[in-house]
């Protein structure tokens, strides 16, 4: 025991010495007080103090840190703004934390070529703000867009409320630069519309810091739509609202956003902001269509007709930008409002085929009742991406554990419905066990082989995103003892 502690201290001082030897000097955080803010990301249920933290100023410094860590076989975890909610940026006490926030330059913004070259620490919203004078915007808009960083967005393949029409992060990138575990600069993609060889950019996007440290990103900018129309519809049941979603898409309309909220969320929003949401509604559907004026008008009229024919008791069309903001307030502020119900909640991120929405929601409510926990639903209905929020009381013994178990059951139900355990939040450390439900051992092994191609020594964010095969075996053993089927033969492809 004493020897192990001594060994760890030795590793720390060797690492510190190696980092201090780098010229020009690095910004190193080594004191306990300074390291405290980096103990966790937004997956606050877990925390860990990093061995050391470094705030690199440029790509060269990232390279120096990775090389020093490789020499000493010390893990490297990179972190952007720390808004991730699956624990992907939680540090290791035997590893260096690379905090990318100082690399926050918009290197170039080319309105003619409709692209921006940015460092990883640039905030998501900042890109759209910088592009707005040229009539352009960056489409992915995760709910944390005010603070989350582009580097983190790329690492997590972040989504948002406009994915159905505009895609995820992976669809909105042209190129990136990353430092791999050898300390080599890897350039993926290009400023042309494709690049030779394998699509390394596809692998790096969403790799949760496992394949490289992203040092520069070229994002694609799109013209701001000429017109946007927002509608809010109230439904007497979640089921009818979910069916209306299918009707809209079946009619050949691809809305920019199609969001749903259930009664728990509606009531919380009403209590918080008195928005005058339709009283007595069991579900609200928020639909947004955009394009040139004629197109948006025509689509809004069609959507309204479909909503009314699908049993909506009330449909509101925002008359102007101010009213549009008001309608969105319930959706965008939902999580803030939910925090007033109980301070602690846990948001799930499963995706299912859209037609399964009514059934999965019924299953969510049934499971919540079984566990005796309150669940609220506010989510991207158009994408089939559900975000049940499970409320628990952290001060009540066993409540968090029950909440996590309920979350796991919901995700398994998503996989059984032909969906996935994470639509946009990432696996991190949160969903490692569920990875074993979604993937077979040979597929998990293939993921490890992909990682080894970028990081043979396994020093980049080890233990995140992909579970070890051993963990999967242990986990399925546990599930058998619990009486559940470990790997039901579900259509997973």
């Amino acid at each position: 025991m004493a020897t192990a502690a001594l060994g760890a201290t030795g590793a720390r001082s060797r690492m510190l010495a190696a980092l201090r030897a780098v010229r020009p000097p690095l910004a190193i955080v080594a004191d306990e007080e300074g390291l405290k803010p980096f103990e966790t990301d937004a997956f606050i249920a877990h925390r860990e103090t990093p061995m050391l933290a470094v705030l690199p100023a440029d790509e060269g410094e990232v390279r120096s840190v990775v090389r020093a860590c490789r020499e000493l076989a010390v893990p490297v975890v990179s972190r952007g703004a720390g808004t991730g909610i699956s624990g992907g940026a939680i540090p290791r006490n035997d590893g260096v934390l690379l905090v990318m926030t100082r690399m926050k330059r918009i290197v170039a913004l080319d309105p003619k070529a409709r692209l921006a070259v940015v460092e990883p620490g640039v905030r998501n919203l900042q890109v759209s703000e910088a592009a707005a004078p040229a009539g352009l915007f960056y489409a992915p808009d995760p709910s944390s867009q005010l603070v989350c960083s582009i580097g983190g967005n790329v690492a997590e393949n972040a989504g948002g409320v406009h994915c159905l029409k505009y895609g995820l992060t992976t669809h909105n990138l042209l190129a990136m630069r990353a430092i791999d575990a050898d300390g080599d600069l890897v350039e993926a993609g290009s400023h042309a519309l494709d690049a030779p060889g394998y699509d390394l950019m596809a692998l790096l996007t969403g790799s949760e810091g496992n394949l490289g440290v992203i040092t520069r990103v070229t994002v694609r900018l799109l013209p701001l739509p000429e017109a946007t129309r927002t509608l809010l519809a109230a439904f007497p049941s979640v089921r009818e609202a979910a069916l209306a979603v299918g009707e809209i898409i079946g009619a050949g309309i691809v809305p920019a956003a199609l969001e749903m909220m259930d009664r728990v969320v509606i009531e919380a929003c009403e209590r918080c902001w008195a928005l005058g949401l339709p009283p007595g509604a069991q579900a609200l559907l928020l639909a947004e269509v955009d394009g040139c004026t004629e197109e948006a008008e025509a689509a809004a009229a069609s959507v309204r007709a479909i909503l009314e024919a699908s049993g909506a008791t009330e449909v509101r069309l925002a008359a102007d930008a101010a009213e549009r903001e008001r309608l969105w307030k319930s959706r965008k502020g939902a999580f803030t409002a939910l925090a007033t119900i109980l301070p602690d909640y846990y948001a799930i991120d499963g995706t299912i085929p859209r037609r399964c929405l009514p059934a999965i929601l019924e299953q969510v409510y049934a499971l919540a009742a079984e566990y005796g926990l309150l669940v609220g639903n506010v989510f991207h209905a158009g994408d089939g991406n559900i975000h049940p929020c499970i409320f628990y009381d952290a001060n009540k013994p066993g409540d968090l554990e029950r909440g996590e178990e309920l979350g796991g059951r919901i995700l398994e139900a998503c996989v059984a419905a032909g969906g996935t355990i994470t639509g946009e939040h990432g696996v991190g450390i949160e969903k490692l066990a569920q990875m074993c439900v979604q993937f077979r051992p040979a597929e998990i092994a293939a993921f490890h082989a992909v990682k080894a191609a970028f990081d043979p020594a396994g020093i980049l964010n080890p233990g995140k995103a992909v579970p070890t095969l051993r963990r999967c075996t242990e986990w399925s053993g546990m599930r058998v003892r619990g009486g559940a089927v470990p790997r039901p033969d579900i259509p997973r492809f």
């Binding site: 070529a113 009539g135 393949n157 989504g159 895609g167 669809h171 791999d180 600069l185 350039e187 993926a188 290009s190 042309a192 519309l193 690049a195 030779p196 060889g197 394998y198 699509d199 390394l200 596809a202 692998l203 996007t205 969403g206 013209p223 739509p225 000429e226 898409i249 050949g252 394009g291 040139c292 004629e294 197109e295 008008e297 689509a299 995706t351 085929p353 859209r354 037609r355 994408d383 991406n385 032909g418 969906g419 996935t420 994470t422 946009e424 939040h425 990432g426 696996v427 990875m435 979604q438 040979a442 597929e443 293939a446 993921f447 992909v450 080894a452 191609a453 043979p456 995103a465 492809f493």
Partner: protein
């Protein structure tokens, strides 16, 4: 039957891996010309593994077996007023029929690509058999999915060198209700500038192409949107509705004759390059086709200086390398990925680079 086919395929691959014998994967054979030369080996015909596995128009998701003819897929989508937004080329001649597996392996997209996205953007999931004879599934049948590395997208354009694609799920989109093509007379430099300026405005662009002093612009969307864009842009309406199909299939007069065909992929706003050559400009300036004798070194270095890359698409002397050379760090990862998916190096060896 489907399970038997996959089981048989896995066994075949394992046998070849043990012997180190190459497998040349083939769908309809319409793109045999594409890529570096094939080495001697067993030809693996995938045409028999065909059929649409699942297609639910309201999900905007289609799952299909690799050997399914592309035409059959497009027909099924058209019946529901939907489409593959990336407009993949068939390059079918005579009785040969392009397959969906071949389209994914080549990763090629057509005229709509700059405005709707590439083939890789619409891949949601793939089922593959890797070089160890393992049947693996990645991604899925849902629009949003970030579980595990994005291996399914990696298969797009990998030319079968990492795995035999057996099934693919795509995101599909509604077919636009209206379409119109406008024609403008102008030189190449102006055409590139115009196409990029328009792409920065909220216009329903769906294709652009310039050749011989004429810029063609396709608009797609709601009828009112197309009408208003036509009024805004001016120009003459082109009645020849099959221009874009003929362009996609390389059946325009520009592509006729032997001579090497280079595909030079550049940042869209790049000024005209290699002015002395015969060119057709697509993708808003993003692709410059060069047909006829050209100096490979000059083409490659020009592309590279502009931040792009050049592919010897058809004909010519393949010894100069069909695909643009990779940087050492990128090549290092390519070799390791190849070794990870296909340790015996038996899947389409040499079709892309020297591995």
């Amino acid at each position: 039957m489907a399970d038997d086919f996959i089981a048989g395929l896995c066994e075949l691959v394992r046998g070849h891996a043990e012997r180190g014998a190459a497998l040349n994967i083939r769908g309809g054979g319409t793109k045999d010309f594409y890529g570096a030369g094939q080495r001697d080996g067993t030809v693996l015909e995938m045409g028999a593994y065909a059929g649409i596995v699942a297609y639910e128009p309201r999900e905007l998701v289609l799952t299909v077996r690799a050997g399914t003819p592309l035409a059959e897929v497009e027909h099924a989508l058209a019946a529901e007023r939907q489409m593959l937004p990336f407009e993949p080329p068939h390059f079918a001649e005579g009785a040969a029929r392009a397959t969906i597996g071949g389209a994914v392996a080549c990763g090629l997209s057509g005229p709509r690509r700059p405005y709707a996205g590439a083939l890789r953007d619409f891949v949601l999931g793939t089922r593959i058999v890797n070089g160890k004879g393992e049947d693996l599934s990645f991604g899925g049948r849902v629009i949003k999915n970030v579980a595990g590395y994005d291996v399914s997208r990696l298969m797009a354009g990998a030319l079968g060198t990492l795995g035999i694609v057996t099934e693919v799920s795509f995101k599909v989109l509604p077919r636009p209700a209206a379409e119109a093509t406008l024609v403008f007379e102008m030189d190449q430099a102006e055409a590139i500038a115009r196409a990029n300026a328009w792409a920065g405005q909220p216009l329903p662009l769906s294709a652009t192409a310039w050749q011989d002093g004429v810029l063609r612009v396709r608009l797609s969307g709601a009828p009112a949107a197309v009408d208003s864009a036509c009024a805004k842009l001016g120009g003459a309406q082109d009645a020849a509705s099959d221009y874009w199909r003929e362009l996609r299939e390389q059946r325009l007069a520009f592509f006729a004759g032997d001579g090497p065909l280079w595909r030079v992929s550049l940042p869209q706003t790049t000024e005209p390059v290699l002015a002395h050559s015969r060119q057709l400009v697509e993708w808003g300036g993003g692709v410059r086709w060069i047909h006829g004798a050209a100096n490979a070194l000059e083409v490659r270095s020009t592309a590279e200086r502009a931040g792009g890359h050049a592919t010897l698409f058809r004909g010519g002397d393949k010894s100069v390398g069909v695909f643009h050379p990779l940087q050492p760090a990128v090549m290092k990862i390519h070799r390791r990925l190849k070794a990870a998916f296909d340790p015996a190096g038996i899947l389409n060896p040499g079709r892309m680079y020297d591995f």
